[in-house]
């Protein structure tokens, strides 16, 4: 087993940890953190793929590296958006989870819209 294989297993572990956190935690904020761990695991997998493709004197294949840089920026934007929505939800309703409301609030009243 090579060092890259060990890091590949770490990527798989990170994906599993992130996935568990996203599913099993209640607070949205913790879900968002877990989502980022999941994303980090996915990017790490790209890193392992890049490292395996080291050739022509380069330490790693540049194409997956470029994809990760693009992906990191997109993931940051997604996180920012999710956090703003979390904060606004909390400011307006005081909620910190996305659990179903009690039945009375389950059907949003669209009557007031344009």
């Amino acid at each position: 087993m090579s060092g890259t294989d060990i890091l590949a297993l770490a990527a798989c572990g990170l994906v599993a940890i992130g996935l568990y956190g996203v599913v099993a935690q209640a607070e949205v904020l913790r879900k968002i953190i877990a989502f980022n761990l999941l994303g980090a695991g996915v990017f790490l997998l790209f890193g392992v793929v890049a490292r395996r493709g080291a050739a022509a004197g380069l330490a790693a294949d540049p194409v997956p590296q470029a994809m990760v840089i693009t992906g990191l920026v997109v993931a940051f934007a997604a996180t920012a958006l999710a956090l703003v929505l979390t904060l606004r939800l909390h400011q307006i309703t005081g909620a910190a989870t996305v659990a179903e409301d009690p039945p009375s609030g389950a059907a949003p009243d669209p009557a007031s819209e344009p």
Binding site: V28, M67, A78, L85, T93, D109
Partner: protein, 492 residues
């Protein structure tokens, strides 16, 4: 080897024009954003039409190699019949929704910029750019970026009203969509590791049925069906789509979910090896069949018009999955019919469902509520809107002469011809249940107004936009067969 075809530059234009319009509208703001968006969407429709005609005329997919860099190092844009048909559908729906949106999101001359109007007029061309990227993209990673463009746009459009009740269901939607994207990306990473490219044309026919490919396929499929709200991952959709303002609901249910659908088709019928498709297709179709039955039954029991229409989306998306096992069948004619039927279902649902959501929005504005039991009098105040709703409903049911009929008939025939007759039972049951909930609405709207019910008239131009969409979904059913041949260009 991909080569740029004549007319390939149209694909570049289809992607850059709405993106540029969004950026310009973003900077200019206010009334300018509105005019830029309307102008850009009109030109975009012309471009989409030109792409469709070119594909139809040449009988071969269009392609454009970006920057002259050949895949696998570079990337290509491609438009086969599927992409051209979806692009055209997107352009028609977006332009109709934009014209409809002039009612609610108009910024009069001299008026200050408002939040909702600014966001609406920036995100319409944004959605056009996202759809163009998703339909034309030839590279699986580039399609990931397109998926995220779709997610951000959809989320912002859904929150347009700024209603507190909306934030929770939209946040839930966002979490689902983001996890879906990440799973998709994970699969793409594995595919790159296995084949050293993410170009769809290069992957096609090259993939092996080994562990990395199978796992990648499973992860990407899971991510995409979460975004498409296939049973049992459907529960985020109805509140998220029903709570959005009418113009946004129409776009979310009509177009946004179709972006993920096109990606799923690309994955299954271009990238994954045939044995996987054969086995997995039946699983997907079984989930789709469950979605058809459960979505329709739940829709039948809804008290609110918009929620009813949203549950109907869950059911209608189910039909799209019936094509998967049929396409893998040995009978080439039947497979070709299933392909045409499936794509037509996506197109006709986009047109019909956006018409129905816009109609539901107008009804809610006019009556001040959208309780199904007290829609009485609606047909008197706004006959055009109710007719449009009913026409859309006919297409969903699959009654002739609608686009939905052609689609469902083709799927039905293909399922009998391939010996998988059980799917035809699902199609028929779904049609009956759909008839049930559409009848419920139309009958309630035709009833005399309840005493004390005050219904306001709605602007005629808005009603006509809705009618145009509904009529378009009907016209699809009377199109001559050679026009439908477009969808077959470059089919798997």
């Amino acid at each position: 080897m991909t080569a740029t075809t004549p007319g390939g530059w149209l694909l570049v234009l289809a992607l850059t024009l709405p993106a540029g319009a969004m950026l310009l509208g973003f900077v200019a703001g206010g009334r300018h954003a509105q005019r830029i968006a309307l102008g850009a969407l009109a030109i975009w429709l012309a471009i989409a039409l030109a792409v469709a005609l070119q594909v139809q005329a040449s009988g071969a997919p269009l392609a454009y190699v970006i920057g002259g860099w050949q895949p696998p190092l570079g990337m290509a844009l491609r438009a086969d019949g599927l992409a051209a048909a979806m692009l055209l559908t997107g352009a028609v729906v977006l332009l109709a929704v934009a014209l409809f949106g002039q009612g609610a999101y108009d910024t009069p001359r001299g008026a200050a910029e408002t939040r909702a109007a600014y966001a609406f007029w920036c995100f319409l061309p944004a959605l056009a750019a996202a759809l163009a990227a998703a339909f034309l993209g030839g590279d699986l990673f580039n399609l990931f970026v397109a998926l995220e463009m779709l997610t951000f746009t959809a989320l912002a459009l859904a929150c347009l009203d700024g209603k507190p009740s909306q934030f929770k269901s939209e946040l839930r939607y966002l979490l689902f969509a983001l996890i879906g994207s990440v799973l998709y990306l994970l699969g793409a990473g594995l595919l790159y590791g296995a084949y050293g490219t993410l170009d769809i044309a290069l992957l096609a026919g090259r993939t092996r049925a080994d562990a990395p490919t199978m796992v990648a396929g499973a992860l990407m499929t899971a991510g995409l069906i979460a975004k498409m709200a296939l049973f049992p991952l459907h529960f985020w959709l109805p509140p998220a789509h029903a709570g959005a303002p009418a113009a946004a609901s129409a776009l979310l249910s009509g177009l946004v979910v179709k972006g993920a659908f096109v990606l799923l088709l690309r994955l299954w019928f271009w990238v994954l090896p045939a044995p996987v498709v054969l086995g997995g297709g039946t699983v997907l179709a079984a989930l789709g069949a469950t979605a058809i039955v459960i979505g329709s039954v739940v829709a039948l029991r809804q008290e609110r018009l918009k929620l009813l229409v949203a549950y109907s989306t869950v059911a209608q998306m189910g039909y799209l999955f019936l094509m998967f096992p049929l396409l893998a069948a040995a009978d080439a004619d039947a497979a070709s019919r299933a392909w045409l039927g499936g794509v037509l279902q996506a197109v006709s649902h986009a047109l019909a469902k956006s018409a129905m959501f816009l109609a539901a929005g107008l009804i809610a504005v006019s009556l001040g509520h959208d309780r199904v039991t007290s829609l009485g009098g609606a047909a008197r105040v706004m006959p055009i809107t109710v007719i449009a709703f009913a026409l859309g409903g006919l297409s969903l049911m699959g009654l002739p002469p609608s686009g939905g009929f052609t689609a469902k008939w083709l799927l039905l025939r293909a399922s009998v011809e391939t010996g998988q007759w059980w799917w035809s039972l699902v199609i028929l049951t779904g049609g009956l249940l759909t008839g049930g909930y559409v009848y419920r609405i139309v009958a309630a709207a035709l009833a005399p107004p309840a005493p004390g019910c005050v219904a306001r008239a709605v602007p005629r131009p808005q009603e006509l936009c809705v009618l145009a969409l509904a009529v378009a979904s009907m016209l699809l059913g009377v199109l001559p067969l050679y026009a439908l041949g477009l969808v077959r260009v470059g089919a798997p």
